[in-house]
């Protein structure tokens, strides 16, 4: 069903956990649908220094969460905003068709975290 890469990320997910007092936190999905992804960002200047995730969901949900954290670490915010759900799936060597919708939201969680960071910044400034 899943590619080896997906199974690798599911079995040994990278960057699991939380960042206390994170600069940005984003969450998508809900328990009713069976998938929740939460992403924590540590941002210095323009750069994503550290990233962690917590996910409730299927194999694809865990693997895409893990993969997006790998893809984004060390990148600028603008670069991070360019990462799409499709790009995450592709980096994993593809996902089964029925997993492309509800379980492939990791990039959305990332973008939500960045949005949260921007909002905090604006509040801090304001």
């Amino acid at each position: 069903m899943y590619s080896e890469k997906v199974m690798d990320h599911f079995t040994n997910p990278r960057n699991v956990g939380e960042i206390p007092d994170a600069d940005g936190v984003g969450e998508v999905g809900n328990a009713k649908c069976g998938d929740i992804m939460r992403i924590y960002l540590d941002i210095k200047g323009d750069i994503i220094k550290d990233v962690k995730f917590k996910t409730f969901g299927c194999g694809a949900a865990v693997a895409t969460s893990s993969m997006v954290t790998e893809m984004v670490k060390g990148k600028t915010i603008d670069e991070a905003l360019e990462i799409s759900n499709a790009a995450v799936a592709e980096a994993l060597g593809g996902l089964p068709p029925n997993k492309l919708h509800c379980s492939n939201l990791a990039a959305d969680a990332l973008h939500a975290a960045i949005k949260n960071y921007h909002e905090k910044m604006t509040k801090d400034k304001g």
């Binding site: 599911f10 649908c33 917590k54 996910t55 409730f56 299927c58 194999g59 949900a61 029925n98």
Partner: protein
């Protein structure tokens, strides 16, 4: 790696004796039972012997058995065949909310095509109420389908009582006994049943074979047109090796059932109790004791998702199944768990273990050893579990 197959409700291995019998009919006694030469007649005889074996197992007569390609075809044939034959008598049909898709989807298809369908609710253990059945029957009710035992949570329905009511009210009563056959007694007379579906691959027979019992006197419109096999009720060259395998599997099941059910019940309860003892925030789905199939364990493990559990178990050689929506690619988890009143978020984390002949106590203990570690690992990853620890989310 240790392999522990705990998905016998999905399918079973073919008994080696059954398989080697089938081999003979694939490669040596391969005649078409419609042929009049010896090859054909030899196959025909074995086919009729298998029909007798199947009929015996459910207390029916040979001529009341129609062989099909499986439980799904038998359910479809029962429902569509009988409603077509009796549609002039009425248009109202009754079923329960926890039926297999082969029953539910077929009835819903009819509901979209001029029939009127009542879907009975179930209680939190998945049981249909006899009172509800009584109330649901109308003068124009022609047909009712209620399963004997549920494939997900193992709930056994009060079929004999429901059947008695159906008979009193002149409603044709179909029962899907795919999951109960070979596990608990199935008898068409004792159960007051008019039609009954069974499937070979759930009782250590081959896949692609099933049967529909149709009580003598019940009319049925055929769905497969052609050579007129199965007394014109199901055309198509008979799958003789498969049917012969099914017959022998019935016979073996009949011999072993009583003893095996006791053995499985012990393993079932050991697994059920072990899980609830070792893992917190776990809910047992379905009834306990004799109202539950002897081989079914179904639990919801909160704050983790079913498919993740399955994949993690699989990496340790344990094969189970789940009522998670992610497994099926739909958004809604198991319609059975939802009908039992379980919230979506908990249903997503459900696991079914279905025990079978090869399973031993060591298998059960292996699961009890591994499952808590898996759950712990997944909960550490779960944003929901945090909230429980912080008491912002309600736990079971």
């Amino acid at each position: 790696m240790r392999k522990v197959y705990l998905d016998h409700s999905a399918t079973t291995p073919v008994d080696p004796e059954v398989a080697s019998l089938m081999m003979t009919y694939y490669t040596e006694k391969y005649g078409n039972p419609s042929s009049i030469h010896s090859f054909g007649q030899e196959a025909k005889q074995a086919l009729e012997e298998a029909r007798r074996q199947v009929a015996d197992f459910i207390g029916a007569k040979s001529e009341e058995i129609i062989f099909t390609s499986g439980g799904t075809e038998a359910d479809n044939l029962a429902i569509i065949g009988v409603t077509k034959a009796y549609q002039k008598k009425g248009k109202h049909l009754i079923t329960s909310a926890v039926e297999h898709h082969a029953v539910l989807e077929t009835l819903e298809y009819l509901a979209k095509n001029g029939f009127d369908l009542t879907i009975l609710p179930v209680d939190e253990n998945g049981r249909v109420s006899v009172e509800d059945v009584k109330k649901a029957i109308r003068p124009d009710t022609i047909f009712m389908s209620i399963m004997h035992a549920n494939n997900e949570v193992g709930t056994i329905q009060p079929i004999a009582e429901i059947g008695r009511i159906a008979r009193e009210r002149g409603v044709i009563f179909h029962v899907d006994a795919v999951q109960s056959l070979g596990k608990i007694p199935v008898n068409v007379d004792a159960m007051n049943v008019d039609m009954l579906t069974i499937s070979s691959h759930k009782i250590y027979g081959p896949k692609g074979v099933g049967a529909l019992y149709v009580r003598k006197g019940i009319r049925l419109a055929p769905r497969a047109h052609g050579g007129g096999q199965e007394k014109k009720r199901r055309s198509g060259t008979e799958n003789t090796p498969g049917i012969i395998g099914f017959g022998r599997a019935c016979e073996l099941s009949q011999e072993r059932m009583a003893e095996e059910a006791l053995r499985l019940e012990k393993l079932r309860d050991r697994l059920l109790h072990g899980i609830t003892e070792r893992i917190d925030h776990v809910k047992v789905n379905g009834p306990r004791g004799s109202e539950r199939l002897p081989n079914n364990v179904n639990v919801s493990i909160q704050f983790v998702e079913g498919e993740s559990l399955l994949l993690s178990l699989d990496m340790l050689g344990i094969a189970a199944s789940s009522g998670s929506a992610c497994t099926s690619g739909s958004l809604d988890p198991s319609h059975v768990l939802l009908a039992m009143g379980m919230p979506h978020e908990i249903a997503h984390g459900s696991l079914r273990f279905s025990l079978g002949r090869q399973n031993t106590q060591e298998d059960v203990d292996y699961v009890l050893d591994q499952l808590p570690k898996i759950v712990e690992r997944l909960r550490m990853m779960s944003p929901l579990y945090d909230q429980v620890k912080q008491r912002t989310l309600k736990a079971l």
